[in-house]
């Protein structure tokens, strides 16, 4: 599944549109960024409530192409700007991390 295909999911709101498109190979769900650094993989989508500018830096480090901020969490403006600079797609959603993992997982594995 590509990031542009992901923008069509009604459960996700795209809050940072200037991203480099590509195939999402899998996902990683975590709110501890040290854990994301240690265990997430390149081309993953990151599902998290950690709405902080560091999440973008960590994603860049790991090679994560898209981030979903779960559970109505407000996305700070410096995070949006950092994602724009790094060309990482940034979504928000009212769904929980669990629901998003199930939803996105189904779409990724369908293909």
């Amino acid at each position: 599944m590509t990031i542009s295909e992901m923008t069509k999911l009604t459960e996700l709101t795209l809050v940072q549109k200037e991203f480099e498109d590509g195939v999402i190979s899998g996902g990683y769900t975590s709110d501890l960024l040290s854990d994301v650094i240690a265990n997430a993989e390149a081309n993953n989508i990151l599902i998290t409530i950690q709405a902080h500018i560091n999440t973008v830096a960590v994603s860049k480090l790991v090679g994560i192409r898209a981030i979903v901020i779960a559970n109505h969490r407000e996305v700070p403006i410096d995070m949006v700007e950092a994602a724009q600079k790094e060309k990482i797609a940034l979504f928000s959603s009212t769904l929980s991390q669990f629901s998003l993992s199930v939803l996105i997982g189904k779409h990724i594995h369908k293909q």
Binding site: D31, L33, A51, N54, A57, L61, D78
Partner: protein, 240 residues
């Protein structure tokens, strides 16, 4: 130039995880016995024991600061310290108002009681104080500095509620220092050159007060001189 012993991270009865033995009176008595000259009361998201603490420290001629160990929205623990009691109590209201409306469960987390300088219980906090507030690290930096205080991320190297575990690395913020956890003997946190490192007891039991402290060099004890000592890096982690 004098060299003083400072323990800037002490919990009292109102913290959900601290023992009822941690009355301000007991804390002051142990701090004096251990030769500490500068102590700070930092309960979880609450400043309600600071009036008793300030009154006792004044009586015992012990220089004190007050404030709280705030849990930010990113679930980082951050020490926020001030020297003015009026500002401390207003700051405490601001922090408590940003906690979710989740009641304390006394059987799990303790009574969260605040007391006077005679160890008489004045009341208990209804909200569970161990929760995360809705205050971000950035907002907290502004809120503390606007009020003339200092802000120090707590035990940044701890796997739980430490800033490195939560945020991967120390973000670019105007912190006055970073606190290393007391049991970490060789801290390597990747931000040593940018911020002064201190360590404190993070005590929840009386005998823990001052078990680790930060020695500071200053001409005489004052909040301004503490800020200067941090800026100059004249701070040294030691064990009691």
């Amino acid at each position: 130039m004098m060299r003083i012993k400072a323990d800037l991270h002490i919990h009292s009865t109102v913290s959900p995880c601290a023992t009822l033995l941690m009355s301000p009176k007991n804390i002051v008595s142990v701090a004096k016995a251990k030769g500490l000259s500068l102590v700070a009361l930092t309960d979880h998201n609450c400043t309600r024991n600071c009036p008793a603490f300030f009154s006792l420290c004044k009586r015992e001629n012990l220089f004190c600061l007050g404030g709280a160990e705030v849990t930010t929205v990113e679930e980082c623990h951050v020490l926020c310290l001030f020297d003015n009691l009026k500002i401390i109590m207003e700051f405490g209201q601001y922090v408590e108002s940003r906690l979710p409306d989740v009641p304390n469960q006394r059987d799990l987390f303790g009574d969260q009681v605040y007391v006077n300088d005679q160890e008489e219980i004045l009341g208990s906090v209804e909200k569970y104080l161990g929760n995360a507030t809705s205050i971000s690290v950035s907002e907290l930096c502004r809120a503390v500095h606007e009020r003339g205080g200092i802000i120090i991320p707590a035990h940044v190297d701890r796997p739980v509620f430490g800033m490195i575990a939560q945020l991967g690395f120390i973000p670019q913020e105007p912190f006055d220092a970073l606190e290393i956890y007391r049991n970490n003997k060789s801290a390597a946190i990747g931000a040593e050159e940018k911020y002064p490192l201190i360590s404190n007891s993070d005590s929840h039991m009386p005998d823990e007060v001052g078990c680790v402290y930060t020695a500071m060099e200053m001409p005489e004890i004052s909040f301004i001189n503490l800020k200067e000592a941090l800026k100059r890096g004249a701070v040294f982690i030691e064990r009691g």
